[in-house]
């Protein structure tokens, strides 16, 4: 029994301990535990315990100089051969932070709310080819896929554990705060250290977004499930916000599984499918996606994928930059807008007389 478990640990460590995100199944049944309060035991601890070290100011400067020197020139690797887009190709995704919501208007004058997602310092950390990539599922499709590990947001290397630091030692980029694994077809592989930008997506593309919803803690049935509660008066005492009966007597004489009851609400992974990218800012790496419903509060991390919806999939004639947009090599405009979107620098909308 010990050996398979050890193998499992070593394999998962090899895969950088990040659960496959594309194939995760959303469980809606309330019986299944939907959130963990602690990370799994094999998850590498990222930050070390901090205590007042009272490092003198000269030494502090010295440490900063060393860090600066180490990461001033990223590790140069020979560029890999870039694949071409084919039917059913899967590209790498991006990690972004939700930075707010504001309205935009289309050219016919209708208002829409857009969520701003900042793609903050995304770099490829590792590519795992299909042979090395361990998939627990049995589908053939997933066995053919490799994975690209992407990290976002730099973290101070002095604050992290050695174990976590070693993950980045071959990459040549500063250690990352947030990492994720994206399943890709082998033709979409990317060399480690490749920067990823918001221009990975074009305006008009459709994306799927996964994130963790806002944690609302232990909530009653009215907030959690939208129950109606009970009347404020007419003889009701102490039951104004309660759910009422949860089961019946007779032959059943038990509470049926899946009964909606008070409990922990929020902090669950949620997928939104088929959101349109309306606008891209290539300078600040910001994406404007449709709708205010991107999971999580302002500042939470989300994962952006090409949409899996059958009618939103890319075709060989019209597909986004593959395997990614190399922004350092090509010129690109600062602001990119969708055709239907009214950019603010354009004159006001006027309707023509018929």
């Amino acid at each position: 029994m010990a050996l398979p478990r050890l193998q499992f640990i070593t394999h998962t460590m090899k895969n950088l301990s990040i659960a496959p995100v594309c194939v995760s199944q959303v469980r809606a049944m309330s019986r299944v535990k939907r959130r963990r309060s602690l990370p799994p035991f094999w998850w590498p601890k990222s930050t070390r315990t901090m205590y007042p070290e009272h490092i003198t100011s000269q030494n502090e400067d010295f440490l900063l100089d060393v860090v600066e020197e180490k990461y001033s020139s990223p590790l140069k690797v020979d560029p890999w051969e870039r694949g071409t887009f084919k039917e059913r190709s899967m590209r790498c995704g991006l990690i972004a932070r939700k930075i707010g919501i504001y309205p935009m208007w289309t050219k016919d004058g209708s208002r829409l709310l857009t969520t701003l997602l900042q793609v903050s310092d995304n770099h490829v950390i590792k590519y795992i080819p299909p042979e090395e990539h361990i998939v627990h599922g049995l589908k053939k499709r997933y066995r053919e896929l490799g994975a690209v590990v992407v990290g976002a947001d730099p973290i101070d290397p002095r604050m992290i554990t050695k174990e976590y630091y070693n993950i980045f030692s071959e990459t040549g980029v500063m250690p990352k705060k947030k990492m994720s694994k994206f399943l890709v077809t082998p033709n979409a592989k990317l060399a480690r250290g490749t920067p990823l930008y918001a221009s990975h997506f074009r305006p008009g593309d459709y994306v799927d977004i996964a994130g963790t919803t806002i944690d609302r803690g232990f909530q009653g049935v009215m907030k959690r499930w939208g129950f109606k509660g009970m009347p404020a008066s007419h003889g009701v005492t102490k039951s104004h916000r309660r759910g009422g009966t949860i089961g019946s007597g007779g032959d059943k004489a038990r509470v049926l599984p899946g009964q909606k009851m008070p409990g922990h609400m929020g902090r669950e992974r949620r997928n939104l499918r088929g959101l349109k990218v309306w606008r891209v800012n290539t300078q600040h790496n910001v994406l404007w996606v449709n709708g205010p419903a991107v999971p999580g509060g302002v500042g939470s991390y989300v994962y952006i994928y090409d949409s899996l919806l059958p009618h939103r999939k890319h075709t060989e004639e019209n597909h986004p930059p593959f395997p990614t947009f190399f922004q350092d090599e090509e010129d690109i405009e600062e602001e990119l807008y969708d055709e239907q979107l009214h950019a603010f620098h354009l004159p006001s909308i006027q309707f023509a007389e018929k």
């Binding site: 070290e53 009272h54 490092i55 003198t56 000269q58 030494n59 010295f62 440490l63 100089d65």
Partner: protein, 177 residues
């Protein structure tokens, strides 16, 4: 409505604050909460160093900072500021202290006026985070002795490493030339 209040122009508080106020339960409601804060602020201005629960100290700290900042900015001839001082200081001789002593003491200060130390709590006993809230520049001996950490082992090792780093750099430059 969902707008920043523009009638008043308030200088930034120089300490970390909570995004929302803490709801200390009080039989008198929100008014009672303010009266409780008032007691702490009065004690702080009077004694300059008070030991209390951390949550209460952290909450009262913001009020004390704002009060001192407005006393510095507006002086004692500004009626709303005087009313505010009158409300927040239960003992009226402290109003003079606020304007004549504290406002003068912190006039050129560029940092916060108060300091909050985490304090140990008694064992065995009911666990509650304790803290010491004090005004900066008070006459008492310091709580955290400012011993030099130069002789600590990691600082000595780092200094040595720094020297080596400089030598290495020099050598590299020589070889380049």
């Amino acid at each position: 409505m969902n707008q920043a209040e523009i009638r008043k122009l308030i200088p930034a508080v120089r300490v970390v604050i909570n995004a929302k106020h803490r709801r200390f339960s009080n039989p008198k409601g929100p008014e009672g909460r303010l009266m409780m804060m008032r007691k702490t602020v009065t004690e702080l201005v009077k004694l300059e160093r008070v030991e209390l629960n951390y949550q209460r100290g952290d909450e009262a700290r913001g009020y004390a900072e704002r009060l001192i900042a407005s006393a510095i900015k507006n002086g004692d001839c500004h009626i709303p500021t005087m009313e505010m001082a009158n409300y927040w200081l239960n003992e009226k001789q402290l109003v003079h202290k606020l304007f004549k002593v504290l406002a003068v003491r912190y006039r050129d200060s560029t940092e916060s006026y108060t300091k909050l130390h985490k304090a140990p709590n008694k064992y065995p006993g009911f666990f509650r985070e304790k803290a010491v809230l004090e005004l900066k520049g008070n006459p008492f001996p310091p709580l955290e002795p400012n011993n030099s950490s130069r002789n600590w082992i990691h600082n000595i090792l780092l200094e040595e490493a720094h020297q080596e780093y400089i030598k290495k750099k020099l050598k590299e430059e020589e070889t380049d030339n």
